[in-house]
């Protein structure tokens, strides 16, 4: 765990990687948040370094999605308590989430697809791909960005299982 501020030379290294991310056409908002979060969280610093060292495009995409997940996780400022979910209910919840995401993906397709959505929301495309492919609970912040970008009303992004 980080116990002191990241050394200046490592911060400079992060800014240099940020410049590489810009060259790779990652959204500027993502780059700024990645660098800022990496300065505070060693695990995010590790991921940013992994991105810089990685040569395989598909692995780089996974790292980008990981970094975005961690930026979102690190935006939580307090301890919260959510409702307990029984294991036996997971199947039903998973099906509800899948149906919700599949429906939303159809709307996204009508608006130009994931690439267009990435441009509009400033969320990296690998993150959006992971968002729609996984059965994990969608984040409200992501849903709000999608709704704003596609000018959707609240009912289109309403789900019991957002977090």
């Amino acid at each position: 765990m980080r116990v002191q501020a990241l050394a200046p030379n490592l911060q400079v290294e992060l800014f240099e990687i940020g410049a590489q991310m810009k060259q790779a056409r990652l959204p500027e908002e993502f780059i700024v948040n990645a660098v800022r979060t990496a300065i505070e969280f060693e695990g995010v610093y590790d991921l940013v370094k992994m991105w810089a060292d990685e040569t395989e495009e598909s692995d780089r995409d996974e790292i980008v999605a990981d970094i975005q997940d961690m930026i979102d996780d690190c935006s939580q400022q307090d301890k919260l308590e959510g409702a307990y979910v029984k294991f036996n209910d997971l199947d039903t919840i998973k099906k509800d989430i899948r149906a919700f995401k599949d429906g939303l993906l159809q709307i996204v397709a009508q608006h130009g697809g994931l690439k267009k959505l990435s441009e509009l929301t400033k969320i990296p495309q690998p993150s959006l791909s992971r968002f729609f492919n996984s059965s994990a609970m969608p984040r409200r912040s992501t849903l709000m960005k999608i709704a704003k970008a596609l000018k959707l009303d609240a009912i289109k992004i309403a789900t019991e299982w957002s977090r």
Partner: protein
């Protein structure tokens, strides 16, 4: 010791269920009873087996303080290897479970765990109940 289910753990279970990584029978007969061993940590002899329980290390081989991995081999129809990172503080906090695929993916997973450990220490996480 109390066993805390974090939102990261719940979310990862949902994703693993979506991928049918393990069967319900494996959950009830193997995975859940193993996780419940944390109640008697460290006296349960299974914690001495490195194939089941080991300290978590980051991609550079540095130990993640108070971070451990619970491991299962050959679960699910695809006979995958499953990992459950656990933060061992005054309580055992279950973090993001994952299917181990390759070395690169595991490095990323442990970087995520490192972030989650830091967030837990800062009191910035969501509890989704306790396992009993």
């Amino acid at each position: 010791m109390e066993i805390v289910i974090t939102e990261w753990a719940l979310d990862s279970y949902l994703d693993l269920k979506g991928r049918t990584a393990f069967t319900d029978a494996e959950y009830w007969q193997e995975i859940r009873p193993d996780v419940l061993r944390l109640k008697t940590y460290p006296t349960d002899p299974k914690f001495t087996q490195s194939k089941f329980w080991s300290p978590a290390q980051d991609g550079s081989g540095n130990l993640i303080k108070d971070g451990f991995k619970m491991k299962w081999h050959q679960v699910g129809n695809g006979k995958i290897q499953m990992r459950l990172p656990v933060a061992m503080l005054s309580e055992a906090l279950l973090c993001e479970a994952y299917v181990k695929e390759n070395a690169k993916q595991e490095k990323r997973r442990l970087a995520r765990f490192k972030v989650h450990m830091q967030l837990i220490r800062m009191g910035r996480y969501t509890e989704r109940g306790r396992l009993s």
